[in-house]
């Protein structure tokens, strides 16, 4: 006898093993298809797991950078509004100063102009004290509630920056330097101008006008700087977002099931399973007993 002896239990064992392994294959593919993932546990593919963990972590970081960009934009747009309003306030002050130089003005009229300048100064100080989540936008890192003292008009802040990370490699200043916004000088100029007009000291008013013009160009420069940073944020947002999307697609490539491939595989292994079931049923039902009377 050349072949192996076949016995009831040996053929049952062999058949059961065959059935079991093809059923296992079918089940694994079914699991993959129903979860949509081919890497569900580290042991499915340790290397893919590690790179997937890293990619997911980077994706989360990018999501945070997008949040940071949103915050920075909030702070900068507040600064932008404040600077715009400052520039129009300065223009109003310039008009007042120009009109005060009319020699035909009565003392009362000059007093009225002076009073209005005092009001403009107050609202300027308010504008300088614009706050984004409790923190003055023009105050630097000083632990003060206001960037400019509401009564004395003294600048209380410093020029140290508030910084945010807007991408893996880039940080950006999100507030506006007080000196760059003329926070230290403007209230003084207006206070002085109000006095000079009240005293009808026109030579000093002319000096005040020059200083105001300087302050206006400083504020406009700051406005331009804020606009430039806003557009930098825009660019950063686009690149971080596209990087994030890239991570998302790479995570999916790494973890997700290749559907057509998996479905084909499932089809094939189901056919194999059915075939082995059929064969087992055919082989195991015949025996010599069927042919004996």
């Amino acid at each position: 006898m050349t072949g192996m002896r076949v016995t009831t239990r040996s053929s049952t064992t062999a058949t059961m093993r065959g059935l079991e392994s093809s059923l296992n294959r079918v089940q694994r593919l079914q699991n993959q298809l129903s979860s949509g993932r081919q890497v569900e546990r580290p042991s499915d593919d340790p290397a893919a797991t590690v790179s997937s963990m890293k990619l997911r972590s980077q994706k989360r970081a990018d999501e945070q950078y997008l949040r940071n960009i949103d915050d920075a934009r909030g702070r900068l747009s507040l600064a932008d509004d404040a600077l715009t309003s400052l520039s129009s306030q300065i223009r109003r002050a310039q008009e007042l100063l120009t009109s005060s130089r009319d020699a035909a003005l009565s003392d009362d009229s000059r007093a009225a102009i002076s009073a209005e300048l005092v009001e403009v100064r107050k609202s300027m100080i308010d504008t300088y004290n614009a706050r984004w989540i409790d923190r003055p936008v023009f105050g630097g890192t000083k632990a003060t509630e206001n960037a400019v003292d509401p009564t004395t008009g003294e600048y209380l802040g410093n020029d140290a920056p508030i910084v945010a990370r807007i991408s893996r490699d880039v940080t950006m200043r999100t507030d506006v330097e007080g000196t760059a916004a003329a926070a230290g000088v403007l209230p003084d100029i207006l206070a002085r101008a109000a006095l000079d007009i009240g005293n009808n000291d026109m030579t000093s008013v002319v000096t005040d006008q020059d200083e105001l013009a300087d302050a206006l160009s400083t504020v406009l420069r700051a406005l331009g700087d804020v606009g430039a940073r806003a557009s930098q944020l825009e660019t950063a947002e686009q690149s971080v977002d596209s990087e994030r999307l890239d991570f998302v697609s790479r995570i999916s490539e790494n973890e997700d099931v290749d559907l057509p491939y998996a479905i084909m595989n499932l089809q094939t292994s189901q056919i194999a399973y059915q075939a082995s079931l059929g064969a087992a049923a055919k082989v195991m039902q015949t025996s010599l007993l069927d042919f004996l009377r």
Binding site: P46, Q64, P161, L288
Partner: protein
Amino acid sequence: MSGFSTMNTAISGLLASQRALDVVGQNVVNANTPGYSRQSVRVSSVGAAPSSTLHTGNAQAVVGGVQIDTVERIRDTFLENTRVAAGASMEAVKAQTSALKGAEQLLSEPGDGGLQSVIDDFFNAWHDVAQKPTDEGAGAVVIQRARTVASQLAFVSNGIEERWETSLSELRATVSELNQAATDLAKVNQRIREAHVVDRPVNELLDQRDMLVRKLGELAGGKPSVQSEDGMVSVTVNGLALVSGVRAEQFTLTGGTTLATATSTPPTVTFGSSQVSVASGKAAGLLAALRTDLPGVSQQLDGLAVALRDVVNAVHITGFTTDSVPGGEFFDGTGASNLSVIPTLTSQLAVTQTAGEIDGNNALAIADLSIDANAELVLGPGSTSPSGLWRNLAANVGTQVQGLERGLEVQSTVLSTADIAVESDAGVNLDEEMASLLLFQRSYQAAARVISTVDSVLETLINLGR
């Protein structure tokens, strides 16, 4: 030749056929009994007494019938021993795999539910604080997420510990099962010897014996010795006699009973005062998980917790709170199971780098620790960031489980091949038995026909005398 001797010859044929039919019946009914070894009747022809030749002078008609020598039990010892070893290896890999797979499940990676995402969320929350240093809400989120990191670490750590304890109680059960099986084998050995002495059939006892030997192999990689003259089998575990003849030894389980003591006093199977190095079987798999695998995972996890604590503390301590108070430590604890968060209020977070100012730069520095290179810079040369340690842990466990699962596949093929080899040798083939049934039925009929022929010959002879 005498008619009466022919009658006797035919009767011996009837008896032999009947006995053979008995054995076929036994084989058929046990075709599906696990561990049953098929039996076959061995017969031999019997020569006539030499005296008959002397007196009759007829040397050509010498017949004496058939006799049953023995009922043979067919089971190849070599194949059976291969099966025992295959079963032992299979059980070892199976036990180790199941313990480690439990640990793997606890990691919940890759995904958004694992420790990686919790750590990322924690560091990212610092970015919000850097932007809004005085915001109560942002600070509260940092503290909450830090607590989540701590509780997630504790969850995984406790899970590993539970897994370890389960494996230990499994090992305890395995050892007591082993002792029971050893006692049983010794008893069966004794019964085999007794039966042997009085020449009773022992085939079914030998089947029982072989099943017990298999069990000892599966439990602790016991190796059977060559069976002795009287049919007894002894079993050794790594050279130590567990069962020798009718005597069975008892093994005990010693060593630490908690994961914390697993490294200093590892769980050990002992006999008397000496250690039994179990190399195969379920006990070996469990020991590997208990002594190396699970403690290894737990140590890596503790290392991660310490690295996270150190890296965050190192930066937190250099900063100041918004009230100019120097920042103290942020995390407290010595490992994954007991990490805790010290600050309870937003005002206790060291968010700023310059005392007296509110710059948010320290919060930004902590947030930037999520970048591996930054964390490694703080931890010192040759160090690995907490996230990196976590990824290493996942990779280690994943690779190990993957290797074990491949081993399991290989072992199960080896085992079923060995099983099929044993069964095809010792198992019952019903077709074969049916054929034997016909054969012995026919030989019974033929022997009966011989009797009736002799009868009619004798009748003729007797009628001659009338």
